[in-house]
Each structure stands twice: as C-alpha cells, then as structure tokens.
Amino acid sequence: MTTEPMQFQDDPPIQPVAALAACVFPGAGHAYLGETRRAVLIACGVLGLFFGGIFIGGVDVVDRKEDFVWFLGQGLVGPIAFGTDYYHQNHLKVLNTNGTRRSAEPFEVRDPKTGLAATARRPETGEPLPLMTSDGQYMINPKTGQPLMGSVESRPPNSKSVGRVNELGTLMSAVAGMLNLICVVDASYRHRVRRTRREN
C-alpha cells in the first residue's frame, strides 16, 4: 500500500491563506496545503538559520535601529524576527537621558524600572560602585533605602558582537529571512495536496 499525493486541480492559481500563514510562521503555508514533511523541513531550516545566527553573533545581530538594511532581510522570517528585535530594543538596550537607546557598555547595567544605564564597576579596576544612572540618580535598594552596589556579577544585559562573528551571525539570520520569502512565494503558487491510499 502506498501513499500518493493528489492535487486539487480546481484550486485557485494563488493561495492567499497559505501565503499569509507562511508569512506568520515559516513552513505554516506548506502545512496548510497538506505538505507536512516539506513544512517541517522549511521550519527547521529557516528557524535553525535564524536562531543559529543569533547563537553565533548574540542577539545584537538583530537590530532594527542600528542595522536597518540587514533587518529588511531578517524581518522576512516573520513575527519571530520582530519579537526578537522588540525584546532587544526594549529589554536589553539601555536608555540615555535624552531617550535614545544604545547597547550597554561593558561596565554598565540596566535599571530594570527606568531602563537607564548605570555604571556598576570602575572600568580600570573592576571595583564595585554604587549604581548611579546617567541622569545622576543613585539606584536605591527599596528594602534598606541605601544605594545599590555593583558586584562582580553586574554585567550588561547583552554583549555587542564585532568583526567576523557579527558578520556571520547577521548574514545567517538575514539569509533565513530571504529563504522564507522563497517559501512564501512557493506556498502561494502550490496546489493543495490530498493523500490517498492505493492498494498495490
């Protein structure tokens, strides 16, 4: 007994639902059309490349503000890429007093309430310092009312990647988006598949 794919020949030439599903999540368009194995392979490949790029270069490689041109490619992965960028912009970057965002420097931490940068240790010696935000306010421990001190564990929320590692991570995540675009187009012009069982 074999399983043989049959196509719905009366399907419209373009599949808008499949295209939309493929935009929302890699491989979902092919899954909608009944191509489950193809969908799993596409999802594993696209997400593997996207998160592989972030694994190599750190979350710094997905940055809509600083690397907009690369984000045009990365954004084609779908909401996952936009969610990653949102997390990077709003939960990892620090705020300057003028409201602009930037990556924290090696001896800075992020004030979880205000998002402002605070120097945690003296860069020359690594000596812990009272956490003072860039607008001149000490971060206060609410229990004791005393200024919070930095520690050896006080690290920036993430590290900026540089050089080839940054290039490779950025390239991998952007290539993931461009490949997903191919899959969106492919899902748009593919007929639905109906599996029928046939006796040999």
Binding site: L49, F51, I56, D60, P106, G126, L171, I182
Partner: protein, 85 residues
C-alpha cells in the same frame, strides 16, 4: 579581566570564534540547502542526497571564490603593479 572570566550566556553574548568563524559557513550552507531543496524539489524521495549535493556545491563554490580572490590580489595585482606605466 573579571568580565572575561564570567560565563558565556547563549544568545546574549557572541561566541568567541574569531579564529574559526569560517567553520560555521558549512552549517550555513547546509541550512540554505535544507530550505531551498524543501521548497523546490517536486518529490522529496531523494531529498537528503540532494541537500548534501547542494551543500557540497556551495562550499566548493566558496572555496573556489576564495582561491580566485587570493590569486587576483596576490598574483595578478602584484604583476600588474610591477609592470608600471
């Protein structure tokens, strides 16, 4: 110095592979092949063979481009510079 000794945090800190970054071109070529072949092959019967063949082609293409660039810069440009006006 202390910051160097602190633990690496996956997905937050970059990997320290500045000398071996080129090895990661192979999994990238493999990932590209997985997605492209999944989308373009009419039948998935010989899928993995096709993926491995495409991965090999991409890697060999990159090696040849690297050799061509090396020969252009280190051989041709030097010869052209020595010929003079």
């Amino acid at each position: 110095m202390e910051s160097v000794l602190l633990a690496w945090r996956p997905f937050l800190d970059p990997l320290d592979v500045h000398n071996t970054w080129w090895i990661f071109l192979i999994p990238m070529a493999f990932g590209i092949s997985v997605v492209y072949r999944a989308a373009r092959l009419r039948s998935l019967d010989r899928y993995w063979r096709s993926v491995l063949a495409m991965t090999f082609q991409i890697v060999m293409g990159m090696v040849l481009l690297g050799v061509a660039s090396y020969l252009f810069v280190m051989v041709y440009v030097r010869i052209a510079a020595n010929m003079g006006p």
